[in-house]
């Protein structure tokens, strides 16, 4: 787009302003007669300055560091507990500073809220300015065109009546359009993120092979709905884990590293709906009815059968154990048998997928279950489950219990442990894998993607398109009329403007010499 301006219009263009005008007002309110309003204005300008935005962005990155270095309450509560045990002096201090829940900590919220306010406060006024700037006509031709970065001059035989006029022209308005698009898209990204937070949800569910779960609040292990989401907004699908396969690299320096995970699932979009099958792999989620289901973890669930003192089977189920930090899927878990009589029974256990005895200690040498054993410590007494207070299924409160076995008892598949005092028997009957699923719904995802692409497009436009101005002025001189041409590129990215200007100047000169008037021709 090219705008050409003739002197018939208002030669003084108030709207014409430099690309990024320094903001009006003082750099600091100190020393002037500033009231509260002045201070507020000053604070707002500081907050919305690019410098503060960058500082906040840096702080945000810095604040995220403990979030990735320390175990977090949200995704790794057992890791936090382990940290408390191994660092008893340091952990309470870190906890006071919110470092085990960084992304929910008030100081972290303060940083990102300030950053958002800073961004919005910067982007909104800038958007208005850019919109104005994109509509602005080029300014009147300067008096001394020879002082411009590019200029040319030639004499012509134009009649004197036509002398004294000027033309100014500008090209590259798309640059401002790109700038505008970038800023609007940036706002769009913010709104999309807010949209996801208001109308989206995140949920987790552990699913043992061979079992089914329905996507309802009471069946989810974790459910974090957005502000405007209720349990009734969950997509009513069901998922069955038919089979889970994990394969590992068997030799070489990468031995024990995962090679592939594949969860074969069956699902229905509504209860009673047609049954479908699908695969879940890491980074290959499944979309069901607006929700996205990710495979985020897996482990082993050893199956135990417990009979109590009366000889009645009081427990017979696979029990998910969670892999610890020692590697090779050495996993810890708890078996609670609340209905054993005369006393409730509890077991803490370790599942070792490929067990070897290293100097009297069990170690796992491979993550696949090639030689699975469990090591159990038995307790009897009060589990604390009957007083109505919810408790973690991965922890055993032994304060009301008495330890039945002095040392951990190791069981191979099919082996049983007879509890002392005729309290009963526990049998390790086998194991099945489990998977951990993350169910997310983020309505802001697509708008955020579109806005992200638009922002990138806008940025490219604003980088690649040069805004440049060319002025032509005719003066009556003693020897006829002198035509001056001057030009400047409004940005540093002025590469190529020299050639463009030279060819334009040559074209003008040629046209004048042939006695034609370029502006007339344009009409």
């Amino acid at each position: 787009m090219t705008d050409v301006r003739a002197p018939e219009t208002d030669p003084f263009d108030a709207a014409a302003e430099p690309d990024d005008p320094s903001r009006p007002g003082p750099a600091s309110p100190a020393g002037g007669a500033f009231g509260l309003a002045g201070w507020l204005k000053w604070a707002w300008r500081q907050l919305t300055s690019m410098r503060i935005a960058l500082v906040l962005l840096f702080l945000l990155a810095l604040g995220s560091v403990p979030g990735s270095m320390l175990p977090q309450q949200g995704n790794n509560p057992s890791g936090v507990q382990q940290y408390f045990v191994s660092h008893p002096a340091l952990a309470p201090w870190l906890n006071h500073l919110g470092l085990f829940n960084v992304f929910g900590a008030p100081w972290f919220a303060a940083i990102y809220l300030l950053l958002f306010v800073s961004l919005v406060g910067c982007v909104v006024p800038r958007t208005f300015r850019l919109a104005g700037s994109a509509r602005t006509l080029p300014p009147r031709a300067p008096r001394h065109l020879a002082r411009l970065p590019r200029s040319a001059e030639y004499a012509t035989a134009l009649p004197p009546a036509e002398a004294g006029i000027w033309v100014s022209a500008e090209k590259g308005y798309l640059r401002e359009a790109g700038n505008l698009l970038f800023h609007l898209a940036l706002l769009g990204v913010l709104v999309s993120v807010a949209l996801g937070g208001l109308f989206g949800y995140k949920a987790d569910r552990l699913l043992v092979q061979g079992t089914t779960f329905a996507d309802t609040a009471s069946a989810l292990d974790e459910f974090h709905p957005g502000r405007l989401v209720t349990a009734a907004d969950l997509a009513p699908f069901t998922i069955t884990l038919n089979k889970f396969d994990a394969s590992y690299i068997a030799s070489g320096s990468q031995r024990g590293q995962p090679a592939a995970f594949d969860a074969q699932i069956g699902y229905t979009e509504q209860p009673g709906g047609p049954a479908r099958t699908g695969h879940l792999e890491v980074n290959r989620p499944l979309s069901i009815d607006g929700a996205t289901v990710y495979l985020i973890g897996h482990g082993y669930a050893p199956r135990f059968k417990v009979t109590d003192a009366r000889g009645q089977v009081v427990y017979d189920a696979p029990t998910p154990f969670i892999a610890g930090t020692t590697g090779n899927f050495m996993s810890e878990g708890v078996v609670k048998v609340p209905d054993a009589r005369p006393e409730q029974l509890g077991f803490t256990g370790v599942f070792v997928p490929t067990a070897v005895d290293v100097g009297g200690t069990l170690e796992s040498v491979f993550p696949a279950a090639d030689n699975p054993v469990v090591s159990l410590i038995a307790y009897a007494g009060n589990l604390g489950t009957n007083d109505g207070v919810s408790q973690s299924v991965y922890q055993l409160d032994t304060s009301g219990m008495q330890r039945l076995t002095t040392s951990p008892q190791v069981l191979q598949q099919g082996q049983s442990l007879k509890l002392p005092g005729g309290q009963g028997t526990i049998t390790f009957t086998g194991y099945v894998p489990w998977v951990s699923l993350a169910i997310t719904h983020d309505p802001g995802q697509l708008p955020a993607l579109i806005c992200g692409i638009a922002a990138l497009g806008g940025l490219l436009l604003s980088f690649m398109i040069r805004r440049r101005r060319v002025f032509v002025r005719a003066r009556s001189g003693e020897n006829g009329t002198t035509v001056q041409v001057g030009g400047l590129a409004r940005t540093d990215a002025s590469g190529g403007f020299e050639a463009e200007f030279a060819s334009l100047a040559a074209e003008l000169r040629a046209a004048c010499q042939q006695g034609r008037h370029p502006q007339r021709e344009a009409e």
Binding site: V124, L190, S218, A317, V337, D387
Partner: protein, 187 residues
């Protein structure tokens, strides 16, 4: 322009606070505020979704076979401490109201057969329970009442509509109050 920017920023900030605060909540949303025991006025009673399943004893069972009776439907699990806490009260309510024609039915959630049977033996539960290991029955009910966890106890009227609910551990007095309204007989 500054004012417009401030207003826009404030609005966005509020939206963002709301969005992020939502992510950190406990995860359970009750539509009826803090009231956990609810009574639905006639005309506002949601229809209980039909289900068919097998009882822990292996007998096929349909909810619609209870049509014409008041049914107390209790969602429970042997693994769930609040369910264990309410079990004695529920057994007592059943002993008191069953002779008067109120039926009781349990829905055993995300449980194993062995654990569920041990629970029933232990607490002397004298009414049947259907197995719902995948919680599909809970899913169906969550479409009509804000069933957000286990335990939940629903009272269904003779026409098959949900007349009352306790959305957590139920007490004798809560159930008695709901049953008095639904059966039309004093506690």
């Amino acid at each position: 322009m500054l004012a417009a920017a401030v207003v826009t920023a404030a609005l966005l900030a509020v939206a963002l606070v709301a969005a992020f605060a939502g992510g950190g909540s406990s995860g359970v949303t009750y539509l009826d505020g803090n009231d956990t025991a609810v009574l639905y006025a006639s005309g506002h009673r949601p229809l209980a979704p039909e289900f068919s399943s097998t009882t822990l004893a292996g007998t096929p069972m349909r909810l619609s076979s209870y049509r014409g009776q008041v049914v107390v439907l209790n969602f429970w699990g042997s693994w769930c401490p609040p369910c264990r806490a309410e079990a004695p009260a529920l057994a007592a309510v059943a002993r008191h109201y069953q002779p008067g024609g109120v039926s009781f039915l349990g829905v055993d959630e995300r449980d194993s057969q062995a654990s569920a049977e041990a629970f029933v033996r232990n607490f002397g539960v004298a009414y049947p329970s259907v197995s719902d290991p995948s919680q599909v029955i809970a899913l169906d009910f969550s479409a009509v009442v804000p069933l957000a966890g286990t335990p939940t106890t629903l009272v269904i009227d003779p026409s098959g509509h949900i007349a009352g609910a306790v959305f957590e551990s139920a007490t004798y007095s809560e159930l008695a109050a709901i049953l008095a309204k639904v059966t039309g007989k004093g506690g």
